[in-house]
Amino acid sequence: MSAHDGSMRLAVTDRASSRADHYRLASGIRAFERMLLDQFATGRIGGTTHTCIGQEVTAVAVTAALERERDCVFSNHRGHGHFLAYCGEIFGLLAEIFGRSDGVCGGRGGSQHLHRRNFYSNGVQGGSVGNAVGVALAEKRKRSGAVTCAWLGDGTFGEGVVYEAMNIASLWRLPIVFTIEANGIAQTTPTGMQLAGSIAARCRAFDIPVEEVSGRDLAEALAAAAHAIDATRSETRPHAIISHAARLGPHSKGDDTRDAAQLEVAWAHDPLVMLRGQIGRAADAIDRDIAVLMQDALARASEATA
């Protein structure tokens, strides 16, 4: 018998959740991503997929600080963690990536193009940040009180539309949090080879206050995210969160050009290991549960579609 309730979900977390709950979610995301890479390696899935190994804690922390009922999320190409932290739907996502009709978008969207309730993503860098600004404008006009969280990578600061979006958001005082995952790399290009000045200064130059945090420390990230999101909501103006956490896996599948030494250093600072350390022995049982959940999800996703 399986160790979960059959819903094939990870329990999502909020500000009141325990460290163990956050760990369960973050570790679940990690397990999901690893499973995907395995499935790629065996040729069971094709196309392209960007895993967020190393960045799970940021996804969990920021999403926990959102109000999941009303807030909106616009994610990017590397969005599995954002998606699972938002709704926990392991099977819906896996089925989508498997191209099944019972995937969250019927297999049409695939890894990079997800939609569920108030969650959206697009695989074209930058453009979705502009769409997120429109979502924030819509919610402001509806007086829903919703904050919109726009996820973007550090490399995406190369795209001009990001600045058009920040300018409009700041000018019109829209309730949007630009959540920047500063993993120090874009595909194969280190940030130093693609970004002049700094991301924080760029945001501030648009009059957008910045919270810069380590994406390794759940408590720090959660506190900063909560602060930024609350301020966004109460002041009705944009804020930015910059979370530093290395991408530990490949860009897509097996295409990592960084050298072993560099990766070793990065892995030595794995945020998940830090979080695991904080919850002690409980982690083992959690991870066993997760392993069963993944197996079951994979088994079901491998069955013929009804």
């Binding site: 909106c72 616009f74 969250v104 978008c105 019927g106 049409r108 969207g109 193009h113 939609h115 959206y120 697009n122 074209v124 453009g127 979705s128 940040v129 502009g130 769409n131 997120a132 600004v133 429109g134 979502v135 924030a136 404008l137 819509a138 919610e139 006009r141 509806k142 001009g160 539309v161 058009e164 979006a165 300018n167 409009i168 000018l171 019109w172």
Partner: protein
């Protein structure tokens, strides 16, 4: 009533009818009312729903797309159609994609208005008709008003009756044209159906029809003139097919017209260079219909601008853009 006045009152009516309609664009506020005055008076009447923006074509369309995803019905003005490519990725990879790629779970009811066309001496980057580059995009409608229809009603149709992004191509010179309630000697036949809801106006000449002029937007006037010249000077009896829905191709309308009798000649007219343009699509579509219904051979011609950058000097511009004489010559060349 001019095309401009009709568009302006159509937009006003749309704002009045539904609080979800939001007008967004550069310099759209009063007293200016937009570069071509289509939004004049609207910001005064609906101060909360007419938003002037930074100079950010991509950002504006992106924002409007987000609004549309969340239940609004935004109407964007791109100041000059020449700048559409700046919003091209937003149109093609965002607005037009979401509905299908999110498996029909969302809608993007967005209208993007783009004043287009030349003949005003505005030069190479402010005179183009770039709509041909946005035809055949799955999920995107492209429509063009003209004096034979009701431009304001068309705009309301684009805003309310379609849940997908609509590129709405206005012609700068066309703004000043008076609406035509009748068009003697032609009988006016309006074609519209579920697959092609934006009406094609078919001008049927009295008596047997020697050929058809297919046209849209800013070329309608020239087609009418050419047909008059050919009627008087050459006793040629031409019908006009004034298309409003540029994309998807209104094949059902074309079919209805052709089943009424295959013309000996079809001349497709557009203001852009004809290569890979709207006229090519019309010819290819008609050929398919002709073949399906085993109709007789048709002589086709395309009339468009020279394959050239549009010069600023008016005399040079006139030499590049298609004129009535070019249509007349193309028709005569068929016979």
């Amino acid at each position: 009533m001019t095309v401009l006045a009709s568009l302006n009152s159509g937009l006003r009516a749309a704002l009045a009818a539904d609080g979800h309609v939001i007008v967004i664009g550069e310099d759209v506020l009063d007293p200016y009312g937009g570069a071509f005055k289509v939004t004049r008076g609207l910001a005064t009447a609906f101060p909360d729903r007419v938003l002037t923006t930074p100079i950010s074509e991509a950002g504006i369309v992106a924002t409007a797309t987000g609004l549309a995803l969340r239940g609004f019905r935004p109407v964007v003005e791109i100041m000059f159609g020449d700048f559409l490519f700046l919003a091209g990725d937003q149109i093609v990879n965002h607005a037009a994609k979401y509905r299908a790629m999110f498996n029909e779970q969302v809608r993007v009811p967005l209208v993007i208005r783009a004043p287009s066309g030349g003949r005003r001496g505005y030069g190479p980057t402010h005179s183009q008709s770039l709509e041909k580059h946005f035809l055949g995009v799955p999920g995107l409608w492209v429509v063009a008003p003209h004096s034979l229809g009701d431009p304001g009603a068309l705009l309301r149709q684009a805003i309310f009756d379609v849940d997908d992004p609509v590129l709405f191509i206005e012609n700068k010179i066309g703004y000043g044209e008076a609406l035509l309630r009748e068009a003697p000697p032609y009988e006016i036949v309006t074609l519209a159906d579920h697959a092609a809801p934006f009406p094609t106006i078919w001008l049927r000449p009295p008596g047997p029809c020697d050929g058809l002029l297919a046209c849209y937007g800013g070329s309608v006037r020239f087609a009418l003139d050419a047909a008059a010249v050919l009627r008087e000077r050459e006793q040629l009896n031409l019908g006009l097919v004034v298309v409003t829905q540029l994309s998807p191709t209104p094949a059902s309308h074309l079919e209805a017209i052709l089943r009424n009798g295959a013309p000996a000649a079809v001349v497709a007219i557009e203001e852009a260079p004809a290569e890979a343009g709207w006229g090519a699509e019309i010819i290819a579509s008609i050929e398919q219909i002709r073949d399906t219904h085993r109709l007789g051979a048709i002589a086709y011609r395309r009339v468009g601008a020279n394959a050239a950058v549009i010069p600023s000097a008016r005399t040079l511009e006139d030499a590049v853009l298609p004129r009535t004489e070019d249509i007349v010559a193309a028709v005569l060349d068929c016979f």
